[in-house]
Amino acid sequence: MTRVLYMDLSRCIYCRACEVACEREHDGHSQMFVQLIDETFAVPMNCRHCENSPCTLVCPTQAVHRETPDAVTLDAMKCIGCKLCTLACPFGAIWFDRANKVARKCDLCFHRTEAGLEPACVASCSARALAFGDFDDLVAQARRKTGRTVVSRAAGEVGTLVTLSPNWNSTTAHR
């Protein structure tokens, strides 16, 4: 089982509560970067914790390493500030902390998930755009949800769908 940070991009409202929560958990530095695209769309960007992570391959000191099956983390004590990981990352998710001369990235809130809590960004997500859990479960949920939306929209277009029983929990238009 791989636990991942999953994003439902259609729900993000650019409130940036995830960034502020991340800052609070990580010494005033956010590892989450919500991107505003064309003034009409928001995409929360952070480390994807890639299965074949280029950052761990290029790190000369193994400061960036796979800590758990879920997370790629960065050991600041081993970091020499070469910034190779920031070049290797396809997402721009690793940044360089000039004050401390070390690279920084998302640690998937290891200290929280170990205690059974959600990562801070997920816990504070206003619109529930972010989720944390088993990858296969989350993808299955997304599939099911999209299926339901497609059916509901179709029902709206044609008026009504076949009704199974008088009290089924319909959300489509009928009075």
Binding site: S10, R11, I13, Y14, C15, R16, A17, E19, V20, E23, R24, G28, E39, T40, F41, A42, S126, A127, R128, K145, R148, T149, V151, S152, R153, A155, G156, T171, T172, A173, H174, R175
Partner: protein
């Protein structure tokens, strides 16, 4: 709100007018997004393509101040196409014929000229709202902060009654209240005309009831309606008001025409401010009393959907700060009024509320302290479950019928002119809260939204020679302010937007009031803009 926030997920159609909940009530998005995933149609009416509008199915980009025209045009289409709920109108309402006469003058083509919303889109929105199994209307200060604010709210109620979209799950007329306990403050009579539970101060019977509950002579309680906030600063300036006690309010930044507010407060003989921080208003005070923050207090708060919730303090008050109720009791004691304030703890205050507030009578301390999600009023007895949905079987009239009251479009107090050609509208951004007294002191929020900006369309920027990110000047008949230009296609060409969390904005706004609710018209002012460098050059030439 007539319905719980969670009800939004049960709606088939959500009509959002004058609310940018994605920025101002972000949590609300949770249930709106759920509704969308279940196939609901989301209609958003706003002068700007706000994050709330991003996910809308039908977006109505109207000119500020034309909400009544839009609502009347929606009702015009609904009546013309016979989409209204005839049974509901016949059995549950009165006044339909007068509405028919008024809204027949608002065909979508006329509304298009006034609102700038395409007529066909008004028709689409009207059909979606009227035909939905359950449709909800969500509104906020975009419709209320006008000199016609009360009438616009009446039009919202008319639309819901016309379509029978009230009194059931997923329906309702739902104003999103701004602060965590503003609903509770109103319920408790922190208004100029009512005692707790909206019992009028002008009624001698009501006065006698409260005099008896508070152990005072009836004559000690005034039968006269008091002054609202803006009226107080006007009275202070005239010298008709001498002393003020301001608790948790920062009118020097938050009130319209703030130069005059400041002058009014400076004119007082004595000003005491109860505050968390040295706000712009506290700086003018003779005495500042330190208040305890939310984390240092216990008691109840009433949410926007009327749920009374108990909360406990997380920490003891820091330093010399006290909860507001203790500060009031201490003041009362020094004024010789101690017998009327016999409270040892928060529970004693709630027990008094239970006695004098019929809608809260059943929300006892014992009960609410273990009701985690809260209890929605009206809750008249201790065994009453509370009322999540209002008007399920009638309205608060002797005949149980809702009164449909048609309203006409009224122009804003100040219209644009050659000298002031643009409409300035004001509002909020996600990073800040009200006058910014708290959020401008919070690094994570301040760094993300550090200064006053003015949002304007690229064509408007070009017309006035303003570049994105440049400092600029904004002028109205009240005064001038400096802001950073934020060029954006979220806004139309004739309108500019400024958030009011910084001191500059309300120097510009006007203090014309709605005649009924006395709410100021924050949403429409005529303004003129220019690059800051033009000012500097002009000053140099003058030298």
């Amino acid at each position: 709100m007539t319905n719980p926030i969670t009800d939004f997920a049960k709606s088939d159609c959500l009509l959002v007018i004058g609310s940018n909940f994605a920025e101002n009530h972000p949590i609300v998005s949770r249930w709106v997004m759920d509704a969308k995933e279940h196939g609901a149609t989301v209609i958003v009416a706003d002068p700007r393509v706000t994050p709330t509008a991003w996910s809308s199915d039908i977006f109505l980009q109207l000119l500020p101040g034309t909400d009544i025209t839009l609502l009347n045009a929606l009702m015009h289409v609904i009546i013309e196409e016979k989409l209204f709920d005839a049974a509901f109108v016949a059995e549950r309402t009165t006044g339909m014929e007068t509405l028919r006469q008024v809204v027949q003058n608002y065909p979508p083509e006329r509304a298009e000229k006034m609102t700038h919303v395409p007529a066909e889109r008004i028709r689409q929105a009207a059909r979606a709202y009227a035909k939905a199994g359950a449709a909800t209307l969500i509104y906020c200060m975009g419709v209320t902060q006008h000199t016609c604010g009360t009438d616009t709210v009446i039009a919202c109620g008319d639309l819901a009654m016309l379509c029978g979209q009230i009194g059931r799950p997923g329906t309702g007329v739902n104003p999103l209240r701004g602060q965590d306990n503003v609903q509770g403050a109103c319920d408790m009579g922190a208004l100029v005309n009512v005692f707790p539970a909206y019992q009028p101060v002008t009624s001698p019977e009501v006065r006698a009831k409260f005099a008896s509950a508070w152990g005072c002579l009836p004559e000690a309680l005034s039968l006269k309606v008091g002054m609202t906030l803006v009226e107080m600063s006007h009275a202070a300036q005239r010298g008709d008001l001498h002393t003020m006690l301001i608790m948790g309010e920062n009118p020097v930044v938050g009130d319209p025409n703030s130069t005059h507010v400041r002058e009014g407060l400076q004119h007082l003989d004595f000003l005491a401010v109860v505050e968390l921080f040295m706000s712009e208003t506290a700086e003018l005070a003779d005495v500042v009393l330190p208040a305890a923050s939310f984390a240092e207090k216990r008691g109840t708060k009433t949410t926007t959907d009327r749920r009374v919730q108990w909360f406990e303090k997380a920490i003891e008050p820091v330093g010399e700060s006290h909860p507001d109720w203790q500060i009031l009791c201490d003041l009362a004691e020094r004024l010789g009024l101690a017998p009327a304030f016999p409270y040892g703890a928060e529970e004693d205050i709630l027990a008094e509320i239970n006695r004098v507030t019929p809608s809260y009578a059943g929300i006892t301390p014992q009960r609410v302290q273990v009701a985690l999600g809260g209890i929605p009023w009206p809750c008249p007895t201790p065994d009453h479950p509370g009322t999540p949905i209002l008007y399920a079987d009638g309205f608060l009239k002797p005949d149980r019928r809702g009164v449909i009251t048609p309203v006409e479009y009224q122009p804003p107090f100040e219209e644009t002119s050659d000298e002031y050609p643009l409409v300035l509208t004001t509002g909020r951004v996600v990073m800040h809260y009200n006058s910014g007294a708290m959020t401008r002191r919070t690094r994570a929020l301040r760094e993300r939204e550090p200064e006053l900006f003015l949002q304007l369309h690229p064509a408007t920027a070009q017309r006035f020679g303003i570049a994105d990110g440049e400092l600029m000047q904004v002028f109205t008949r009240r005064g001038e302010a400096q802001a950073r230009a934020r060029v954006s296609r979220q806004i139309g060409e004739d309108v500019v937007f400024m958030p009011f969390h910084f001191p500059g904005t309300n120097v510009l706004t006007l203090d014309a009031l709605d005649p009924k609710a006395k709410i100021p018209e924050y949403k429409v002012a005529a303004c003129r803009i220019s690059p800051l460098k033009a000012q500097v050059e002009k000053a140099n030439q003058d030298d």
